[in-house]
């Protein structure tokens, strides 16, 4: 039985518990998205919490029948951009290395180079890479999250991979 329509209706009417039930399954991926974008666990958690709060406040704008996942990811990704700027604003980009996530114990120089290159990508390029290859979203979902066409999502992914020196054999396709 699909509970989503009823939950969406309840959440739209102001039922916070219904809203939590709707977003709960999406929280792990939202957190992974934020970690991929920000590298800092505390910043990532802030981004997810702020994103969910914003989603709740603006849930009236969610169109029943559309997919909740890209809708929430759009908001969380915007929070990540905001968090990054806030952090940048408050510390003038003197990132303390200790605050950053370094979950990979790899000492492979290529992997380290790739990680550095990833975090030097512009926000929108890093976002397509994280959505497509870290969260395994389809190009259609990537496009929905970025509110661009599927063709543009593929093109942006291709450019980001070029920038990361991970040249695909062919233009990525489904």
């Amino acid at each position: 039985m699909n509970l989503a329509p009823a939950l969406i209706q309840d959440a739209s009417s102001g039922d916070q518990q219904a809203f939590v039930l709707l977003v709960e399954p999406l929280l792990p991926d939202a957190f992974r998205l934020a970690i991929g974008m920000l590298r800092s666990e505390s910043d990532a958690e802030d981004a997810v919490q702020d994103g969910v709060l914003n989603a709740w406040r603006h849930f009236g704008r969610f169109r029943p029948g559309s997919d909740l996942r890209p809708w929430l990811f759009t908001i969380v990704a915007n929070e990540c951009r905001h968090q990054r700027r806030n952090r940048w604003w408050s510390v003038i980009r003197t990132e303390a290395p200790g605050e950053l996530v370094d979950k990979t114990s790899s000492s492979d120089p290529d992997t380290l180079d790739l990680r550095r290159a990833l975090y030097r990508l512009p926000h929108d390029q890093r976002l397509v890479v994280i959505l497509r290859f870290y969260l395994d979203l389809s190009y259609e979902e990537v496009a929905q999250t970025l509110r661009i066409s599927t063709k543009a999502a593929k093109s942006r992914t291709y450019r980001a991979l070029e920038r990361l020196r991970l040249s695909p054999e062919v233009l990525p396709d489904e």
Binding site: P28, G36, V48, Q49, R81, V101, K103, D108, L114, E169
Partner: protein
């Protein structure tokens, strides 16, 4: 490299993520606290009059705090050095000026519009004016030799961002949502580019001999792996014509790679022993970039002759870049 290999490499690079087990609870608490603030249930236990008085007092305190913080923030943001402070600045003076101007310009964006979107049209004149001030500072300053090639690029991207913001405002006034989206997208792209340039300038350090050699090797590998660069500059003479999206895609990707190389050269500045060769390399990288910019302009103007001329210029400059890197 296929998609599975790319996915694996990126997962290795980002690492595995441990989702906090109590994330859901924390989110609920956050939502709940927001609701309590909204609903005023923190007033529980007070009489109605006392609650109203407390609410008024809280509002007054909040307003005073907001005004105080705003004044403090504005004093920080507006505490600009008299600019341009020095016509011939040292490296550190130039770094400080560029850094400060970027903070000032982006603070105008952050104040009124944290993420460019629907609310931004009112903020755009303010942001464009701040960027124009930055551009005036750059135009009134002669950059130190280390930044002589990145400086004109920075000016170009700041100027392009101003142009895009004005286009966005014009589109907004014309109620042209599609035009506004395109202009804002272009402005964001320019902002990302000049932010990367500022980042390279701010973090510019003279590298050790071994560090510089390592950076050069990495740059060589980068150019070898830049399929778009090789396609445009290589001996294969693959066609690149106006109206061909693949051609434009190659131009944009090559430009991004050349910009990244330029940033690397600024960030890890050559040791004295390699300074002369590095200066030549930087000049050739800049010339290659100009070739790509000219190609982009010609492609957009549907001017095939100019596109071919610019491509020849890029091809020659790119060959010199490869040769310079090999000589280092």
């Amino acid at each position: 490299m296929n998609e599975t290999q790319i996915r694996q490499r990126l997962r290795d690079a980002v690492g595995e993520t441990r989702v906090p087990p109590d994330l859901r609870n924390r989110v609920e608490v956050r939502l709940g606290s927001s609701e309590r603030m909204k609903g005023g249930s923190l007033m529980f236990g007070f009489g109605r009059t006392a609650s109203v008085a407390a609410a008024v007092l809280a509002l007054l305190l909040l307003a005073a705090a907001v005004i105080g913080i705003r004044a403090w923030h504005d004093s920080l943001v507006n505490s600009r050095p008299a600019s341009p402070t020095v016509q011939n600045p040292t490296v550190s003076q130039y770094q400080a000026m560029v850094s400060h101007d970027e903070v000032y310009a982006l603070s105008k964006q952050a104040n009124a519009c944290a993420v460019l979107g629907d609310a931004c049209p009112t903020a755009e004149p303010l942001l464009a004016a701040a960027l124009q001030k930055w551009l005036d500072d750059l135009n009134g300053t002669r950059p130190p030799s280390r930044f002589v090639y990145v400086d004109p690029e920075l000016r170009r991207h700041v100027a392009a961002c101003i142009r895009d913001l004005r286009a966005a405002l014009a589109a907004y006034n014309a109620q042209d949502q599609k035009g506004m989206d395109a202009a804002i997208g272009a402005a964001v792209s320019e902002r990302d580019t000049f932010s990367a340039e500022v980042d390279a300038i701010r973090n510019s350090r003279q590298a050790s001999a071994s560090g510089y050699a390592s950076a050069v090797r990495s740059d060589q590998a980068g150019l070898t792996n830049c399929v778009a660069c090789q396609t445009l500059a290589g001996p294969g003479q693959a066609s690149c014509n106006v109206g061909d999206d693949f051609c434009q895609n190659n131009i944009v990707v090559a430009m991004e790679n050349i910009d990244a190389l330029q940033g690397d050269l600024v960030r890890d500045f050559a040791p004295d022993a390699s300074a002369a060769t590095d200066a030549r390399l930087q000049m050739d990288v800049w010339t290659a970039d100009q070739g790509l910019v000219a190609m982009d302009v010609a492609w957009s103007a549907h001017d095939q002759t100019s596109l071919q001329t610019a491509r020849d210029a890029f091809r020659q400059a790119f060959a010199r870049v490869v040769s310079d890197l090999a000589a280092l």
